[in-house]
């Protein structure tokens, strides 16, 4: 069962590495961003293959299994990214609104 989960996690991580590389190739993300994503996904693969690496760390934070700690960590990361994405969208919406208004009021 654990092996099955590990295979799924590795395949998922590998596909995310591919998408990160694709985005970099299309110049949608810069060098720093691709490096950040590579660290995250390759780190995930290493931890999935060798969960013992984080066992001591997990015990320190009172997690029974490394898997539980990774799920909580991933959940926190998703919340962080959703919040950051929401704020960026709001800022962009405001800028767009101001720009459209400015254009409509121009020369009137």
């Amino acid at each position: 069962m654990i092996i099955g989960l590990q295979i799924v996690a590795i395949l998922f991580s590998l596909s995310m590495v591919y998408f990160a590389a694709l985005n970099y190739k299309r110049r949608e993300i810069n060098g720093t961003e691709i490096a950040g994503w590579m660290v995250i996904w390759i780190g995930t693969i290493i931890v999935v293959v060798f969960p013992e690496l984080l066992r001591t760390f997990a015990r320190t934070f009172l997690f029974a299994r490394v898997f539980d700690m990774m799920v909580v960590g991933a959940f926190l990361l998703v919340i962080l990214m959703a919040a950051s994405s929401y704020m960026r969208t709001k800022r962009l919406e405001k800028k767009l609104e101001d720009l459209v208004r400015k254009l409509s009021l121009k020369k009137k």
Partner: protein
């Protein structure tokens, strides 16, 4: 008192000419904000435009709240002391305009809300929605979603809204209550006809969610 009429417009080619003809009779400056219409609304206005009608065009559709704000910004930077907002779908009767001007000029109210319910009684669903808002903000308006309303320059400075969509009407009510402005309601007639867009149940749900957000932020 110089009063401008602001009409936010989105895809109302069937009604906008009729609305403009009827409103023009009141000899008040009219600002139509075409909010990125994809039909021939904009062209129809240009064809029938008179000296008192100003057309502002959003390049893309931002929403009713954003269009109202653009109209208000234009009006107040061109000498308006107050603005009256009207919908472009011919649901509002221009004859009701005098009720607003009387309250703005004669009785010196800051904000005047049109209400479709004052004479007929409030439908249960709308009553519950209004109660929901009032329980949060201690202001009760019998028709929080009616787009027919008047605002003075002083009031506008205090209730400048953030909503770009249909939440604008509710946000105006909430900000009016928060700013402790002098407000009143006037009964307005609603002319219903087929093909009316307006607030959908999904919009209403979104507005309710926004009410909770405003409770925390305003």
């Amino acid at each position: 008192m110089k009063i401008f009429i602001v009409i936010p417009l989105f895809n109302e080619e069937k009604h906008i000419v009729k609305v403009l003809k009827e409103v023009s009779a009141y000899k008040m400056p009219i600002v139509v904000v075409d909010d990125g219409s994809t039909d021939s609304s904009g062209r129809k206005i240009i064809d029938c435009r008179s000296k008192i009608v100003t057309l502002l065009q959003h390049k893309i559709n931002l929403g009713k709240g954003a269009a109202m704000k653009t109209g208000a910004v234009y009006a107040f930077t061109h000498g308006a002391d107050a603005v009256i907002f009207m919908d472009s779908d011919a649901q509002h009767n221009p004859e009701d305009l005098t009720k607003f001007t009387r309250k703005l000029e004669g009785e010196k109210y800051d904000v005047i809300f049109g209400s479709r319910n004052l004479n007929l009684g409030v439908p249960l669903v709308r009553y519950l929605g209004n109660k929901f808002v009032s329980s949060f903000f201690r202001i009760y308006i019998s028709d929080t979603l009616c787009g027919f309303r008047g605002v003075t320059r002083k009031a506008y400075e205090k209730i400048k809204w953030e909503s770009t969509g249909y939440g604008v009407e509710t946000e105006m009510v909430i900000r009016t209550g928060k700013a402790k402005l002098r407000f009143c309601e006037v009964p307005v007639e609603t002319i219903y006809h087929s093909g009316v867009k307006g607030v959908t149940p999904l919009d209403a749900f979104g507005i309710l969610a926004q009410v909770v957000k405003w409770r925390l932020t305003i």
